[in-house]
Assembly symmetry: none
Homo-oligomer: 403 residues x 2
């Protein structure tokens, strides 16, 4: 796990499972296959946490040292278990293969450990209690660790933990920066340590998580409402999802509810808006199609935008964005059409600075409209922000249109 | 990073970059936003390593504590820098926005730190030398961290490291599975420990890295050639890039060289092919535009595909893929046009099983052609594979057409 190739998914899985039990993850440490380093790390973890989970290093090779290091840190012996050795041998025999001598290493357990069977591999798990603390040794391969933890360890842990209920709220927000959002809601969330508030930001998409713990469900919900209701009120219609759904999924559900269809006409986003709308399974029910009109010629010929309009206002203008949306709507027969035109950078063709983007929107109610955005960052970020801005304008339009 | 949602990619990137410099990663630690815990972790890291890289926690909010913790661990003061504050304010002003008061936190640096500019965000990096040790404070968002590290930190680090030559080769391959590739080239690469060979796979895109270390450049190149030449020969024209360029960038360069243009017509990929072609800066020189034709109606009206052809063969057929490409080429005047039509799943509309995709290609030489693919995985993977397959068919066509 110290190489550049291995993505750590085990710890995400374990965190999710532990959080559900009301256990907070304080520390994740990744160290190499060095026995002294491992032993010191386990000792330190035991001094700081009530639950220590060690994953990996239970294989048959010389650099699988977790058993030895755990035993040393706990000041216990390693015990050879003939029954485990027999089981490993039997596992090899069933596959018509001979057990290698080094597989015997996997038959050693820390003195006093409870063995957890591993139906998916030769490395058994070990559950060790020491005073108030629990140490688990779990195999590293996700296909072995995950079923073992979910199937065996969760139930054992639940028995040792105080009865506690965890309830969460989740807001996905767009149309403001992380620092503006923090400025707006920190006066509320800093008043509370329960629920805890976490803010995660990616371009044009901020997630606010609230997590409350209490002895009862009613109490947890009361705590959530106390901090969450004012936050929800402050964020208002910038919240596009309360359940984690993506913006394109939210729009899809709105279109489906209204029996409406959509089309797109994209210049600077180059297909990204269509790509996101069609990423949702079943989007063919409401997405008709789109035009990626990168050149002025394409805007005129494929979409039918008036060349004079482009000559007068340049392709990067509210007027052209509106015409693109109106034409996409007319040419496809969709109820709504959204368009983008702008300078993604680094070079600009119209003289407008990179990051200048116009989003156009046409629908059954009223004339086409457009909005200008000055978006930060490089080409990739401008395209991502512009796509998000276009989808959010559509969402707001649909919300206003009602069901 | 202690939640169950965030995948750690920064540390993989940093590990790769550090390894290339001959630096080994000994320890990765993830801790929460707690100042005392952070400070202790930094102190401990300083006692164990010569290079300590801290990522994240440089934002404007109350729980961004890396600056404070680093200063405390290093026993240095935090200094307010008016010039940094002005730069942040200016950044906001350029976007017609007002800097929030809490952004001033980002203008503090550890005493004696060299500031590393961040063109992609408000958090500057900090490079701190203390005796033989280096501490770096880098912003957490990958879009800010990666260019900063590659652009600024690598060169600074290289100056401090002992002379050792690292030379690499890099092949990007498409059109075969990871296990087929491994089966093909493992008889070669397993013979060598220097260079080391690493294989990374994502849908339709496998990267083979070779890394040789030696005392001289000539020796490193000799080692690379010994292992790399036979691998290159075995992979042949499945290699689309030897310098890390993306498939869309390779195609862009080929089109530019030939003075040729391209258009797309997409059904199942929903805009992804256009999105990737236009992700390349300057793509407006050769990308004319595209049609996202999700419904049969759109295929007929926007693109002019013969309805009878669809009725006879269904929309998911080689005939329709060829017609889509031919029509996209005719309607845009592009030299080449590539099309996709298929079942991305989970539901299918034509009876063809999910994963069935036809790619069509039209160009100045000969009649339109098409190829059928049976692609594995869920909706997202099928769309990614289909996009890759379409781009690769275009690359091969351009390669045959010559310059």
């Amino acid at each position: 796990m110290l190489t550049s190739q291995r993505i750590d998914t085990n710890s995400l899985f374990l965190t999710d499972q532990l959080n559900s039990l009301g256990v907070e993850v304080r520390r994740k440490l990744i160290v190499g296959d060095d026995r002294a380093v491992l032993t010191a790390a386990i000792r330190q973890a035991l001094a700081q946490a009530e639950i220590v989970i060690l994953t990996g290093g239970l294989g048959p090779t010389e650099d699988d040292l977790t058993r030895e290091a755990a035993a040393e840190a706990l000041e216990r012996a390693l015990v050879f278990r003939q029954d485990l050795c027999d089981a490993i041998e039997e596992r090899f025999r069933r596959r018509q293969r001979k057990m290698a001598e080094n597989n015997k290493r996997q038959a050693y357990v820390v003195e006093g450990a409870e063995v957890i069977a591993n139906p998916n591999g030769t490395a058994v798990g070990q559950w060790i209690e020491t005073g108030e603390r629990v140490v688990m040794l779990l195999p590293g391969p996700p296909g072995e660790l995950k079923p073992m933890f979910a199937g065996e360890c969760v139930a054992r842990l639940a028995k040792k933990l105080p009865a506690q209920v965890i309830r969460t709220r989740f807001y996905r927000v767009t149309g403001m920066t992380e620092s503006d959002l923090d400025h707006l809601i920190s006066p509320v969330y800093t008043k509370y340590t329960n629920p805890t508030t976490t803010i995660l930001a990616s371009p044009g998409d901020i997630q606010v998580h609230l997590r409350a713990r209490a002895a009862s469900e009613a109490e947890a919900e009361r705590l959530l409402a106390e901090a969450g209701d004012p936050i929800q009120e402050l964020l208002g219609d910038r919240i596009f999802s309360c359940n984690g759904d993506s913006l394109e999924a939210v729009i899809g559900a709105m279109l489906r509810e209204r029996g409406a269809t959509v089309a797109v006409a994209e210049s600077c986003t180059g297909g990204m808006v269509a790509e996101r709308l069609t990423a949702v399974a079943g989007s063919s029910d409401y997405f008709l199609g789109g035009f990626v009109v990168y050149s002025n010629g394409m805007k005129e010929q494929a979409l039918g935008v008036d060349p004079e309009l482009i000559a007068r206002h340049t392709a990067v203008s509210g007027e052209v964005a509106e015409a693109m949306a109106a034409q996409a709507r007319a040419r496809t027969g969709a109820d709504y059409a959204v368009s983008t035109t702008g300078e993604a950078g680094p070079k600009t063709r119209t003289g407008a600075p990179p990051g200048t983007v116009f989003v156009g929107l046409a629908g059954p109610e009223g004339p086409p409209e457009s909005r200008r955005f000055n978006l930060p960052g490089d080409r990739t970020r401008v395209r991502m922000f512009a796509t998000q801005a276009a989808l959010d304008m559509l969402r707001r339009k649909l919300a206003k249109a009602g069901r």
